[in-house]
């Protein structure tokens, strides 16, 4: 079952290897920065949640 799942994931990666929308490196960098920033905010909130839950 795990092998079948891995095969499916490989197939998906192959199928979607080339994006239909071509983005400039700047746009890609902006998207990545936004993603990293949002993940940092989420991490911060998780820390806050753990502290609040302990109290």
């Amino acid at each position: 079952m795990i092998k079948s799942l891995m095969d499916q994931i490989r197939e998906i990666n192959r199928k979607y290897a080339t994006p239909e929308i071509v983005m400039t490196p700047f746009v890609k960098w902006c998207l990545l920065s936004l993603r990293v920033y949002l993940l940092l905010l989420v991490l911060l909130m998780i820390v806050k949640f753990v502290i609040a839950a302990r109290h």
């Binding site: 979607y16 239909e20 983005m23 949002l38 905010l41 949640f49």
Partner: protein, 450 residues
């Protein structure tokens, strides 16, 4: 001159008669056109109303209740503002689904490639699963008011949700879900029964202002205010809603010519969602302002002594909200996985025809239901934090959506207009700014007051 007038006179009744016939004919054909349009709308309506009403899920009801108890009616204007926000975001999914015939997950994978595709799917899985937990928290809390133990509630929910999708027809599932949407409107009479001050309601609704200090709580910008603003945004627009409505539009088979009805469906839904949110804040603002209320179930219990009817309405509404949310969220995930993994993924398929699609649906249900049964889990805290985390992750999904809707090659004449882009980019910037302000207030609690 007088002869011309005399000759003209006898013709006048004829003109009036023709005009009368024309009016009758015009009215008849107008009525037929209206009737046809109405029937078309009723056939197409569903995804927009369902997603918007389900948006007032258990977490949403808890958020509105807490907001009303904490700030009275002072944030009504903010909730009203969120109505157009929800509409602008969601109507993009109608256009995208109707034009591309692709669900949201598939559209992101195809348009942005595998890396961004997996990121989006991971966001969806995490936020959906967390939100599903909040739905079960709400449902178990609601039925515990009627002395039904959480284990029994979870089993009842599994049975209801399982039987809803057994028919193997999208139409049947949609109509059952619309009935649950109607039940969500049960809160509306409560707002009239509590006899709120119209001056307070109108002031709160139409004059944007910051809440003043009240009952020992500081007013203005505070950590709590940012937290509740975030939670309210998170309950009005969430990543799962984008995935759900687009996939639902595709599963229903909406075409480009149906977009105007799809937009109307979404607009009606956004009005309903705001009405329910406003009603809840009015009721809680009137009955519980200044009292410490952590969740909707506690609000229902607090209201019971003053009005058993309203307390019961709160409990029933909370259960219904949780059920609606759970149905839509688990389907959003199942559709997304089906689209990406290439499984059969339609409510028009029987279980044996789309086993993986339904397996994921049940897997989500069982997993979320089980977490709620863990003893001493901080359920209320989880509920509010899930809304906040969903809001924080929202801009990433919105940016993809905006880029997709600006792809002229795919969208053709249905591409975003300048005004739609301005509105949606403003929403993204506002959400990022609110998230940042909340984060700053979390790191430096003394900065804005606690």
């Amino acid at each position: 001159m007088s002869t011309e007038t005399a000759e003209a006179l006898p013709a006048a009744p004829q003109i009036r008669k023709d005009a009368g016939m024309n009016l009758a004919a015009r009215s008849f054909f107008g009525f037929r056109r209206m009737n046809k349009a109405m029937r078309m709308f009723l056939a197409i309506a569903g995804p927009g109303i369902i997603v918007m009403v389900a948006d007032n899920d258990a977490g949403g009801i808890t958020t509105y209740t807490t907001t009303g108890a904490q700030y009275g009616m002072h944030l009504l204007w903010f909730l009203i503002l969120l109505g157009p926000v929800a509409y602008y975001v969601q109507e993009m999914t109608v256009r995208l689904g109707a034009v591309t015939k692709r669900g949201h997950a598939e559209a992101i994978f195809a348009s942005f490639g595998r890396t961004w595709g997996w990121f989006s799917l991971l966001d969806l899985v995490v936020t959906d699963w967390l939100t599903m937990i909040t739905e079960f928290i709400g449902m178990t809390a609601a039925l515990s008011i009627f002395h039904i133990p959480p284990v029994l509630t979870v089993i009842i929910v599994w049975i209801i949700m399982g039987s809803m999708i057994m028919s193997g027809r999208y139409w049947t599932w949609e109509k059952i879900t619309l009935v649950f949407c109607l039940v969500n409107l049960i809160y509306i009479p409560a707002a009239f029964m509590v006899h709120p001050s119209m001056k307070d309601v109108l002031w709160g609704a139409f004059v944007p202002h910051l809440p003043p200090a009240h009952g020992g709580q500081p007013g203005g910008f505070t950590n709590t205010l940012f937290f509740l603003l975030m939670a309210n945004i998170g309950t009005t627009i969430a990543p799962w809603m984008l995935f759900f409505q687009q996939s639902s539009v595709v599963d229903k088979g909406l075409k480009e010519k149906d977009i105007k009805f799809g937009k109307l469906d979404t607009a009606i839904g956004s009005v309903l969602t705001v009405v329910v949110a406003v009603v809840l804040i009015i009721v809680c603002g009137q009955l519980l302002y200044g009292k410490k209320v952590d969740d909707a179930a506690q609000a229902a219990i607090s209201i019971m002594p003053s009005s058993k009817f309203i307390g019961t309405v709160f409990a029933i509404g909370l259960f219904d909200a949780g059920l609606l949310g759970a149905v839509c969220i688990s389907l959003a995930s199942s559709w997304a996985f089906g689209e990406v993994f290439g499984w059969a993924h339609s409510l028009n398929r029987k279980i044996k025809e789309a086993p993986w699609f339904y397996a994921y649906y049940f897997f989500d249900l069982v997993l979320a239901g089980t977490v709620v049964l863990i003893p001493r889990a901080p359920l209320v805290l989880i509920t509010l934090f899930v809304q906040v985390i969903a809001t924080t992750l929202l801009p990433a999904a919105l940016v993809f959506l905006i880029i997709l809707l600006n792809d002229k090659k795919t969208m053709g004449k249905y591409v975003n207009t300048r005004w739609e882009n301005i509105a949606n980019i403003t929403i993204v910037v506002a959400v990022i700014a609110t998230s940042t302000l909340y984060a700053v207030s979390a790191i430096f609690p003394g900065l804005f007051g606690s």
